[in-house]
Amino acid sequence: MSSKQSWTGKVRGATLEKFEPEDLLPDHQPAYVASWIYVFGVSTLAALIMLIASGLYLTLEGPAWWHTSNVGHYVNSVHLWSVELFFVFMVVHLWGKFWMAAWRGRRLATWVTGCLAFFASIITGFTGYIIQTNFDSQWIATQAKDGFNAMGIGAFFNTLNTGQAILLHVSLLPLALGAIVLWHVILVRRKGVVPPIEEGGE
């Protein structure tokens, strides 16, 4: 039996063998990849790295630490401002891709995964806001419950259950977001950066 027919061989064929090393870690790009708009994609990733780093620090110390420690409050502030930067960069990146019609050339999946990352970020951010364990989180949780309850989601995801929200925020949701972002980046590398729109063309 050839290795191509084994499960491992099939997975290798569907993943690693699809890529040239230069595609994954390029040291050259098409000449048209020269615009400030490209900064926002990598800036979004950088803000995500800051988010994960500050979030992990908060996770190590526990959900109430930042209320009583100056260091904790500062780390929480870094987390908050990383979130704000992350969304600003991501929204500019998204608008940029819209005006570039970046779905051209069989890049639909790249667009779809980018949008999924945007919505996964909103849900992850929302769970972050309701686990602040302060007045803001109390108000957001009690107001948001009505939307989730009306949709039937509240029976399974209870915004008032802080423990559930904490676990979602630090485990399932970042894992899901991380996987979507990774998939998105791999697609960008696999398909390459979309070329400029031709005059009057596609």
């Binding site: 040291d27 990598v42 639909l108 302060n134 109390q138 009306a150 509240g154 400029p196």
Partner: protein
């Protein structure tokens, strides 16, 4: 004359001119710059942390509102008492057309406000009068309980300031004793513990105290209003103080400001459904009619790739 890039097929690997690029260096520089920006913003502007409200703070800062709400829980007139799924069967929750998703999901977080917020916590009290009042309440019919509690809740609301009222004719039954005892528990801080530890001695679930607090007539909403967090203040996307909040929820918040959502009893399910549809539209935007053509009609791409277009024109 601008060169027509008619030979460029966006689905094919690029075979035209390239430039030097260093992916790892770019990522490292981005992390350093964005990291410094986040660290600086945090140092300069910090982050908000307005202390959480408690049953104790509520009962001390707005005692009349607390006792009126407690009486309302016994009377079954609060929002929680008539909410419906997922908490109880006392209401229908919201519909979209003939569909009621909350009912389909069912009652999975059972809350009976009179019992969950008032009677069960009071069972932890040792006072003979409180236990006698609980026994009288428990032995009475539902109609009798409702009559007692509604009469008392109405009287408290009418008075507006009273924390307890005399009952010479006995029309309030054990309600004043129950409400006064709960008020005492709240001011001592014992009610906070009782509501959070009823299901587990190590509290992680704040459903009961938050639902009770959300039934508050003035205390909770007034605090939120003062921080511009109210629904009619675009509160969904705001944060306490002057800090930026979840501004990316602006469109979600927008629908609540306009008709027909603003005054609809089904506003939440309508807005959530609409946002779900719009989100799906964004995900599948390239497959929609008209919208994917907009970047061709409004040539922002000429600005984005201006260097490329200029160089292409120079070569021709």
């Amino acid at each position: 004359m601008t060169r027509k890039l008619s030979t460029v097929d966006p689905s094919k690997k690029w075979s035209g001119p390239v430039r030097e690029y260093d992916l790892i260096k770019e990522l490292v520089i981005a992390v350093v710059v964005v990291g410094l920006l986040a660290l600086s913003l945090a140092a300069l502007f910090s982050s908000p942390d307005q202390k959480a409200l408690t049953m104790q703070s509520w009962s001390k800062e707005a005692p009349a509102d607390f006792v009126q709400t407690a009486a309302g829980e016994l009377a079954g007139t609060t929002t929680s008492a008539s909410y419906g799924p997922p908490y109880n069967h006392n209401g229908d929750n919201q519909n979209i057309g003939p569909v009621n998703l909350a009912k389909l999901a069912g009652v999975r977080i059972p809350i009976v406000p009179a019992d969950s917020f008032v009677i069960e916590p009071l069972k932890l009290q040792t006072s003979d009068s409180t236990q006698a009042a609980i026994a009288t309440w428990s032995a009475a019919s539902e109609t009798q309980r409702s009559d007692w509690a509604n009469a008392y809740a109405d009287a408290l609301t009418k008075d507006g300031k009273a924390l307890t009222l005399a009952d010479p004719t006995g029309k309030f039954g054990p309600t004043p004793t129950l409400v006064t005892a709960l008020y005492g528990m709240a001011t001592s801080g014992a009610l906070d513990g009782a509501l959070t530890t009823s299901d587990s001695t190590l509290p992680t679930n704040f459903t009961k105290p938050l639902l009770f607090l959300a039934d508050s007539g003035t205390y909770f909403p007034d605090k939120a209003g003062a921080e511009h967090l109210g629904g009619d203040q675009w509160g969904v996307m705001n944060e306490t103080g002057s800090w930026p909040g979840q501004s990316w929820l602006w469109l979600y918040s927008f629908w609540y400001q306009i008709e027909p959502f603003k005054s609809s009893g089904n506003a939440d399910i309508l807005v959530m459904s609409l946002m779900g549809l719009l989100s799906l539209g964004l995900i599948l935007l390239p497959l929609l009619p008209i919208i994917p053509r907009i970047p061709y009609w409004i040539p922002v791409h000429r600005l984005i790739w201006r260097n490329w277009y200029r160089k292409s024109a120079e070569k021709v």
